[in-house]
């Protein structure tokens, strides 16, 4: 965001030498940071980096041992001191809607927070009306919170946190588990509200692309701050270039690159490589050299994003664990048998007159990664539950692992692996105990179990953590444990329902390394849901769900191509005041105007005409335009465009 934050001499938050230990184990140490008034300050870092501890301490809900925290010049060093600032503060803890009261309606939740915070009765109605209108929750005031979708829960949480008009809000991962459209919505509302009231915000996130929405941010890792500053400044600390390419055979290409360049990954059919300290041309040369003899296509350089920078930064400071993911060994997997792993035909599920899944049909082959994306409540989880045999379908047919789901549910269960949306392993058991339990449940022979557990632990990078309790693990590692448990019996098919929700970028990369390995080498069929569109690029096929129906089912490239044909060229607009520019461009009638990071994306039939038009509009308001560049659309563009179009279509009906 380019708008200048009003600077005031006394910072909203000043943290100096902060440290927090749990039972002698240090969670955070030596953290310094300063949040200026009116600023949106971000905290980014992997799970277990200490973000939550720091935020809780700032919010005065966690006692700490070292250092000092000042809020509006008041030192928070005791329970009594913390009480003195709580009136000026709003806090939303981690977890989608977990701090709300599921049995209460939207309105009752808001009323409770308002009265708890002593908002004068006369003002409650007006504030509530305004916030409800802005968040478009006004149509649902009577609905119990537990029946809201994830995005709505998050907006309600925001309303409840803001109802007493605090001067500072502390939001711990507010967008985790929310689909891309709702996330955008959330950020837009938040930005507007904060600007209007001059509220300061301290926000943590697991989405790197959201970092662009912060004025300044701190990257945290292992309880320390790695870097602080404006997003551009942080990016500038790790010079280098990012290359994208397609190569055949992919596994070998990746192996070769990784042998000499540490930061490389496969994204679906493409490879993405970060080359340190190299200009784009030099980097292309380096990679082409490494891959001599393989068939290469579409090798080009792009600008590094914050996620690349973060990974590079960690790597340079030698903070990232060496990639512990086991290299594929030939013959690890069973030979592919029946090629079709999952076959769904007109699967339908009704709940009391509400159709959660409507005639879903698709096919997944062994060795495929099949992605299921859609807004919260689109029916993805219900679909998975039917395929895994938890929920009988109301209508339609399905074959999973060669068995009919109507007649052989038990046989299906033995052949699949499943991780549910919420972490559903035993938190009070250790990593090893969980693994052993599932090995025996799935009937892995006793003599083979020890070896297999070692193998999956190594593959998922859990080696060394066997004795830790699952509940104490950082989220990302917990999800890897869930995956390890799901694959301990070498299932032919894996169902993964939002396995990476809330997992940090590093954790997600590792997670996907494992999935790609399973699919490509062991020929496992994987059906996965996710809200991270950057992840969806890894999928071989992607089904887009909306209101219970599958509205698109194609490889990612085909989806993008279809978008191009339908909506036109994607233009990326870089300006110094993106929010204001966005509003103007929307007014001007451009299609699909949306903020991506610090740039505006929009669609245009003819790039030249559109560019000229944009220049005119922005110049008229004195907004500086840096560039208008045609870009290949990302999956997020596809998702946002499609879902927005569908939602608008419904509203018109």
């Amino acid at each position: 965001m380019g708008e200048a934050a009003p600077l005031t001499p006394a910072p909203a938050v000043r943290v100096q030498g902060f440290g927090k230990r749990y039972r002698r184990q240090a969670a955070v140490a030596g953290v310094d940071l300063e949040v200026r008034r009116g600023e949106i300050y971000g905290l980014i870092g992997p799970d277990g980096a200490g973000k939550s501890s720091l935020m809780k301490a700032v919010a005065g809900v966690l006692a700490f041992e070292e250092g000092s925290i000042e809020m509006f010049g008041i030192r928070i060093d005791s329970e009594a001191a913390a009480e003195r600032v709580k009136g000026r503060l709003g806090f939303m803890p981690q977890g989608l809607g977990l701090n709300l009261y599921p049995e209460l309606s939207v309105e009752e939740n808001i009323d409770f927070f308002a009265r708890l915070r002593g908002v004068p009765a006369a003002e409650i109605a007006a504030r509530k009306a305004k916030l409800l209108a802005m968040t478009r929750l006004d149509r649902f005031t009577g609905r119990p919170m537990k029946h809201l979708s994830g995005g709505m829960k998050q907006k309600l949480g925001l309303v409840c946190t803001l109802i007493h008009e605090p001067e500072l809000i502390v939001l711990d991962e507010p967008t985790t588990g929310v689909d891309p459209v709702s996330r955008r919505d959330f950020w837009a509302i938040l930005a507007e509200l904060l600007r209007e009231k001059g509220i300061t915000a301290l926000i943590s996130t697991a989405y790197m692309d959201e970092a662009e929405r912060f004025h300044r941010l701190s990257l945290m890792h292992g309880g320390r701050v790695l870097a602080s500053g404006e997003p551009d400044a942080i990016r500038a600390r790790t010079p280098g270039s990012v290359l994208e390419l397609e190569a055949e055979p992919q596994v070998e290409a990746l192996d070769r690159i990784q042998a000499s360049l540490a930061q490389a990954e496969s994204v679906g059919p493409r490879l993405r490589v970060f080359v340190d300290d190299a200009a784009p041309e030099a980097a292309v040369g380096t990679v082409a050299g490494l891959l001599k003899g393989l068939s290469l296509r579409d090798l080009h350089a792009t600008t590094p994003d914050l996620e690349d920078a973060f990974v590079a930064l960690l790597r340079r400071q030698r903070l990232v664990e060496e990639r512990a993911v086991a290299k594929p060994r030939a013959g690890d997997g069973d030979p592919p048998g029946d090629d079709v792993a999952i076959l769904a035909k007109d699967l339908t599920r009704d709940f009391d007159g509400f159709r959660a899944v409507d005639r879903a049909s698709f096919t997944v082959h062994q060795g495929d990664i099949f992605g299921l994306v859609g807004a919260n409540g689109a029916g993805k989880t219900t679909l998975i539950k039917m395929l895994t045999g938890i929920l009988p379908p109301s209508d339609g047919e399905g074959r999973v692992a060669g068995a009919d789901m109507h007649f052989a549910a038990q046989a299906i269960k033995a052949r699949i692996g499943y991780t549910s949306q919420a972490f559903s392993l035993y938190q009070d058991l250790s990593v090893l105990e969980n693994l052993r339990l599932y090995a025996r449940i799935y009937g892995v022979a006793r003599h083979a179990a020890g070896e297999r557990i070692e193998q999956v632990a190594e593959l998922t990078g859990l080696t060394g953590r066997e004795r830790q309790l699952a509940g104490r693990l950082p989220l990302g590692i917990r999800q890897r444990l869930a995956l390890a448990c799901a694959m301990v019996h070498r299932p032919r098919i894996l169902f993964l329902d939002e396995p990476t929700s809330g997992v940090d970028p590093i954790g997600r990369r590792r997670f996907w390394d494992i999935l790609v390995h399973l699919a490509r080498v062991e020929q496992v069929a994987i059906l996965i849901t996710t809200h991270y569109m950057s992840e969806a690029e890894h999928c071989d096929r992607l089904a887009l769900m909306h209101a219970g129906r599958i509205v698109a089912d194609d490889p990612p490239a085909a989806l993008k191509q279809a978008l191009r044909e339908e909506a036109g060229e994607l233009l990326e607009v870089a300006t110094d005041r993106p929010l204001a520019a966005m509003a103007l461009l929307e007014q001007a009638g451009f299609a699909g105007v949306a903020l991506f990071g610090r740039h505006i994306h929009l669609f245009a039939r003819d790039a030249h005409t559109a560019t000229r038009e944009i220049q005119t509009i922005l110049a008229g308001r004195g907004i500086g335009l840096a560039s208008v560049t045609p870009r290949p659309p990302s999956l997020e563009d596809v998702f946002v465009y499609r879902i927005t179009a569908l939602e608008q279509g419904e509203q018109r009906l």
Binding site: Y426, I441, C485
Partner: protein, 382 residues
């Protein structure tokens, strides 16, 4: 077939180990369990279901040797003298405040009348607001005064204690079996142990099952090839093991050494019966788990079932005294059979030859309850 059976056993064992591990990880829960099986039962050593040092105040209008002799007989262990009062108003006030349980009122000329063979009336006022205490106090004071009068009558006739043989009377020889000293110290801790076993057998499996529902871990189990029985049985087995261990600790560390409870019958039989009882009762716990969505509901349902069971099965009250309808209902309570067999084995030394009918009753009931609980669970999650 054989390998399927092996697989079944292996799954059962794995799930049972899991349940036990989870239990052991919860420090406060373990504390509560150990406390209930040991300290809680130990604390009952001070509790008596008997009149014990009940305070009697005396209004003595005679102040004679005879009246003093009678008053002297109101002594421990049943009674203790709470002093003398001047008028009946004072007695009433003491009774009102609960400072005394009974007032003994000895009339004037008590000794003179006694010696002259004229009948004399001694009045006893008893606070019967608590009928148990009141009845006991009335009964004992009646016995004491009656005995005193009888002896006085004999004495007037010249029959001294030594020559009672020459008077026609029934000499009652009480023989109290199984607990010759009528030692509450045996009864109460055993009843307490049976109560604790019941509380655990209902609440632990219910809590374990509801917790899986609340935390969502049940979902992961439902997509696995486990049958509902393999989800349920391990909970019952592990909780039964915990209860058996607790019972053993209670028996060998508290009941026998502290209370001197004799174990007259067969210990293996006692533990076998306890196992059967725990499994039967845990069926109720599983039933509760199917009815409740959260633990708060489960807790309320548990006391709803637990309290009547504990109080109306004869653990704390004599079962013979129950009103007709409920006495029959008692046969539907597994605790009733467990009490019969528990006391039978521990105190009476009874064996299967005597207890077979109770065992049959418990078995039938257990199969019924457990089968019902499992069926409900199956229908919910099958």
């Amino acid at each position: 077939m054989n390998s399927r059976l092996t697989l079944w056993w292996s799954r059962l064992a794995a799930m049972t180990v899991k349940e036990l591990l989870q239990l052991f990880r919860d420090g406060f829960l373990m504390f509560a369990i150990v406390f209930l099986f040991t300290a809680d039962i130990y604390m009952t050593r001070n509790v008596r279901l008997e009149l014990n040092h009940a305070t009697v105040v005396v209004h003595d209008a005679d102040h004679s040797a005879a009246s003093r002799e009678l008053i002297y007989r109101f002594r421990p262990p049943y009674f203790q003298l709470g002093g003398e009062i001047q008028d009946s108003r004072e007695g009433q006030a003491l009774l009102d405040q609960g400072q005394a349980l009974a007032v003994l009122d000895i009339p004037p000329y008590f000794q003179r009348d006694l010696q002259s063979g004229r009948p004399t009336d001694v009045q006893v006022l008893v606070d019967t607001s608590n009928t148990v205490l009141g009845t006991l106090a009335a009964s004992y004071s009646g016995q004491i005064i009656g005995r005193y009068g009888f002896e006085a009558a004999l004495a007037r006739m010249g029959a001294s204690e030594a020559s009672l043989d020459t008077v026609p009377m029934i000499q009652d020889q009480h023989r109290v079996w199984y607990n010759p000293n009528q030692n509450d110290a045996w009864f109460i801790p055993i009843s307490e142990l049976l109560t604790v076993i019941t509380v655990m057998a209902i609440m632990l499996p219910a809590a374990a099952a509801v917790r899986e529902k609340e935390r969502g871990t049940i979902e992961q189990l439902l997509v696995s090839p486990l049958t509902p029985a393999l989800i349920l049985l391990p909970k019952v087995i592990s909780m039964t093991l915990v209860i058996l261990a607790g019972t053993a600790i209670s028996l060998f560390l508290v009941l026998v050494p502290v209370f001197g409870v004799p174990i007259k019958g067969s210990l293996p039989l006692f533990f076998a019966v306890t196992t059967l009882y725990t499994v039967a009762t845990s069926g109720l716990g599983l039933y509760i788990a199917t009815l409740s969505r959260n633990l708060a509901q489960a807790a309320m349902l548990a006391i709803f079932i637990l309290m009547p069971m504990v109080f109306l099965s004869g653990a704390w009250t004599p079962p013979e005294a129950m009103p007709a309808g409920l006495r029959e209902a008692m046969y539907l309570s597994p605790l009733y059979y467990f009490i019969e067999m528990g006391y039978g084995i521990l105190l009476k030394g009874a064996g299967l030859d005597v207890l077979w009918d109770s065992l049959l009753g418990l078995t039938l009931l257990g199969v019924g309850i457990f089968g019902f609980g499992v069926r409900r669970f199956r229908r919910q999650f099958g």
